[in-house]
Symmetry: D2
């Protein structure tokens, strides 16, 4: 059975990756990929990797096809205002924007600067990290994909919070990220001579993904996360370095690993990494380019109770389009790995 | 039917890529991957992208398994001296080194500085570019993969020489290449602080791949190629820029394209590129990372009779392991694209 | 004696470098740096390296100060149309654009697509390569700086053509260049995710700098240069690889070096490089970042009569602002090295 | 008056930078630059930027010249064991290693894994950050340069701790650093194909520089610093991101700036950066390549009491050779900026 899907807002980087992945999906037919800016143009004009792979063209947004599943790859703020229209055309929806991620409507003014127009819908959207919400995803009609930086940080920290191994305060999460996360709109700050060779603090405080991370790591008391983001000179990839404090500083490393194994051992897309005899001893986004993996690891500070949790992923795949396809596979009953098999390259 | 294959000299970058590709091949079982340096170590220690993909270990070279197909990924000069041993263990052989590429034994002293020890075998190895030697490959027992820089240059120029559209002298080919082509042995010149940010002339004259290119472009008179290679700051990828002269400067662009189409239109892994309305108007290796594509294009100089031929590929895939797997697929009667489906990433 | 200078069109990368260099010049006072876009803004807003170095602001173009020397750092086509105004305000002019480089007015339609509006002025501008035009520069009132790619190529080839050692046809020059040469206006093709990791053919034929190179290498018969340019993933730096043919293939390497030494031995900013025992055996732009050096070298092909000439420079210094300051120093009677002493960094 | 200086262990990256800087110093004569590995070789063979700048050769360590000032650029552990010999040859010493940085001998076993052989000398070495120890440096005979990561972090945090504005616990410092900090010895992990495109956690806990930072920020109670270091794909540059907690969360931003201004306003090499209307709003190492600047800034979290302190420098200059020369200038009574005037490049 082939499902009809559409991609709304398909001309960004996330849209391009969705097209790439869904073209390989044996159970999917892409019936529409919309773009305001590029309507009428061949998809491969923007995505030169898809030359000879598809002759699809972008269509405009005016006439939405009725589909089994609609993927929304729109900028923040558009989907939430047109959601009725989208719900009419798409039986199921996977929203890749930040419009329905946070379940507590009171957080929107704090992090997004405005009230949510449709707070009654927030709980209809399952937060799209399969490793945490798989059972809900199986029954979901609507999914809201996690933010890329949030996904890396949450997957790194989840077993610790779920098992109440760490304190809920004095948590510092510092993510390092490549340039593709900012989308494909050029500006002086993304101009190659300015953006190359940087280690650039781009959001030292009040990054929007903070709210998602705190939401997903709440088991009892809501943790307070001090989050910062820094840009570095790669195109794809995120490394999240989280500094948390063990409630019991005597907790043995092997017990911490046990918590991770319990959570992730059977996961197809999470790998636990600690290989001191490798030149890749910790998770490293370099080798994850194009893959749907999230690699996680940690190191216990021998001084005091700090645990440094390291997690890595490709912001456009496990952080975005791949995560969405994985959630889609679960939601539609397909094998979870479908279209996400690429193992990644080395060296790269 | 599953074929048993082995990879000899599997701990280099080419070996790692062979393992990655062959693990995905539905008709293949890798029974042995040898390495002197890393015997006994897990394959994923050197190839961290293969974590959770394989638990294979490198074995030593002392006991070769009998296999249907043996892949040789050894440095130059080893295979040619142990070839009897390899021919005994492998019913078929795909050699990825430069040991059997050149058919004229007189070229070895010029380019390799020594006589070939087994000249009688040279013609038993089919030169491994499928687009040129597909019919021979179908019947081949032994294959010798083309050099990575040679493959890019030959695929770019082949239709012009085959159709005798260009002169056989005053040809300049300047290739630009990433660092992975040099293998995984560290040295001061490959040390990151020295190797980063370079545009480094590394072989202005007498590059060994010259001989292969001249061999493959000989239709009547052997052409003389003035070849140079320059290193740039990427890991994967080759761009070959070839400057040739039209015999008839009045030849129309469309007639040149016709020669290319005739040759490549049905090829699964060659794409003809000329898209003036794209920001990727010519072939560009960036978007080919991990793929088996060779993209080719050209531009006619409005002044005089020069044609600039541009071709691009990933040195470790179409330039090496992918090319070998494609030849292997043909030789063994599998679908040519098997295990080589990855379309490549954008942006990357 | 302090000279008053102004910089017109100062908010581009070349303008920023001119400000940096001239601020260090002990005999210079910058009285005006104009910018349409950034008038009223501090210079260091665009040039963050100059924080705490200057409190100068950009002024608008409407009121030009009378100065001893005016530097024009405008895009092509503006200076040539406002030259009377500029000549009135500046006693001397150093034009960094391409408006007055070519002396034969018939070349403008071919390379620039339009007639030159003021052909009678072309010969009043001395072409600004000091190593070739020092005597003229000493007496010059107007100077036209060489193009960055042209400067590298000309300095590499000049001794060969001057001494008639090489043929005037079948010359291929392939330059590789960083992103800063394209200026500071963002676009999709310069957007970091698109522009990173490239080896991008950007002008395979009909590059405008061809005309300058041919002009400067004319000794008797005008040579025909087949020129191509390729972009690579660095910010600063040019490598020019020129393939020329010796008239007498028996010419010994030492005689070729002699021609180079004769020309460049006493030059403060040209270095002859051939160090086979170094990991930088040929000229390499990496180590020239920020310097006014042009490094030159060559390799003789043992097969046939080809000579590969390699030259490197920093496009924004020796290729642009530094070249202009060097010419200015000569024109004004200052020590030629003034403000250009920076030796460059290693590693970088 | 010209001082005679020597550089012991001159063939590393720090040694190369010392040579570069001291060659430009008008009051200095380098009488000896020693290297075990490269004795007898020209300095420019290893430092190609110094071609045509010096004809000095490396000498071996066997015969030390008597000098006014000796710079030690040796790996950790050598200087502390040969210090008598060095003190005999050098009237004054600037040690760039970590051998005499920490004043409390009990810290050595914790961070360096061994006892200090000469604890009685520790207090004879003034810690070399001029902004903190200028008065001591004026009278110093022996100086111990700060570690590069430590220097960045200390300069960022010093005004806060000195003025007791922040708590002494729950401090997380995450530094990002380029590859040149690891020195010039090649290995698989620094091999370009492996080291490119990384965001690599290289020392999540127990980094040795922690001890220095805690030492220098002790005003009353010794703070506890949770330090981590991550490698990114640049050659030069460090960004330190420090997360500290205000004792009084009501402290106004302007009062914090006041503390910074008090400390740094007159400093020639520290710049306070907060420019929200620039694309470089925070300190950024990119534009500091080759300079002796340390740029510092901060952002106050509107949620809670966190302050994010951002500081940047070039690890080989302000983090190493430049810092040493600045201390040397103070110690010898020269103008502090001598030989350190380079303003840095943009773009780069």
């Amino acid at each position: 059975m082939t499902l009809k899907v559409s991609i709304i807002g398909a001309s960004g980087y996330v849209g391009g990756e969705l097209i790439r992945l869904l073209l390989q999906h044996p159970e999917v037919e892409i019936v529409q990929a919309t773009s305001q800016r590029y309507a009428g143009k061949f998809v491969h004009k923007l995505n030169p990797n898809l030359r000879k792979r598809t002759l699809m063209k972008f269509s405009d947004n005016s006439k939405l096809e009725s589909v089994d599943v609609m993927f929304l790859a729109l900028p923040h703020g558009i989907g939430m205002n047109k959601i009725d229209e989208f719900m009419k055309a798409g039986s199921k929806i996977v929203d890749l924007s930040s419009d329905f991620r946070i379940k507590n409507k009171d957080e929107y003014p704090i992090w997004y600067g405005h009230e949510h127009p449709r707070p009654e819908l927030l709980n209809k959207f399952v937060y799209g990290i399969p490793e945490i919400h798989r059972e809900e995803l199986k029954k979901a009609q609507y999914v809201s994909k996690a933010g890329c930086l949030a996904a890396a940080s949450i997957l790194g920290l989840y077993p610790l919070f779920k098992n109440k191994l760490v304190e809920t305060e004095n948590i510092v999460v510092e993510v390092k990220t490549g340039s593709s996360g900012g989308g494909n709109k050029p500006s002086l700050s993304t101009h190659h001579p300015e953006r190359s060779n940087v280690i650039r603090s781009f959001r030292p405080t009040m990054h929007r993904h903070t709210a998602e991370i705190e939401q997903e790591l709440t088991f009892g008391e809501k943790p307070k996360i001090d989050f910062s983001a820094t840009s570095v000179d790669i195109v794809r990839g995120i490394l999240s370095t989280a500094h948390v404090r063990l409630i019991n500083p005597e907790t043995a490393e092997k017990d911490i690993w046990k918590a991770y194994r319990q959570e992730y051992e059977k996961e197809p897309f999470v790998r636990m990494v600690k290989e001191s005899d490798s030149i890749y001893p910790y998770p490293e986004p370099k080798i994850l380019m194009g893959t749907n993996y999230c690699d996680v690891g940690f190191e216990k500070d021998s001084r005091g109770k700090r645990l440094v949790v390291i997690s890595a992923l490709d912001n456009l795949v496990k952080g975005s389009a791949g995560q969405a396809v994985q959630a889609f596979n679960i939601m539609c009953g397909f094998k979870e790995e479908t279209a996400l098999e690429f193992p990644g390259l080395h060296p790269v």
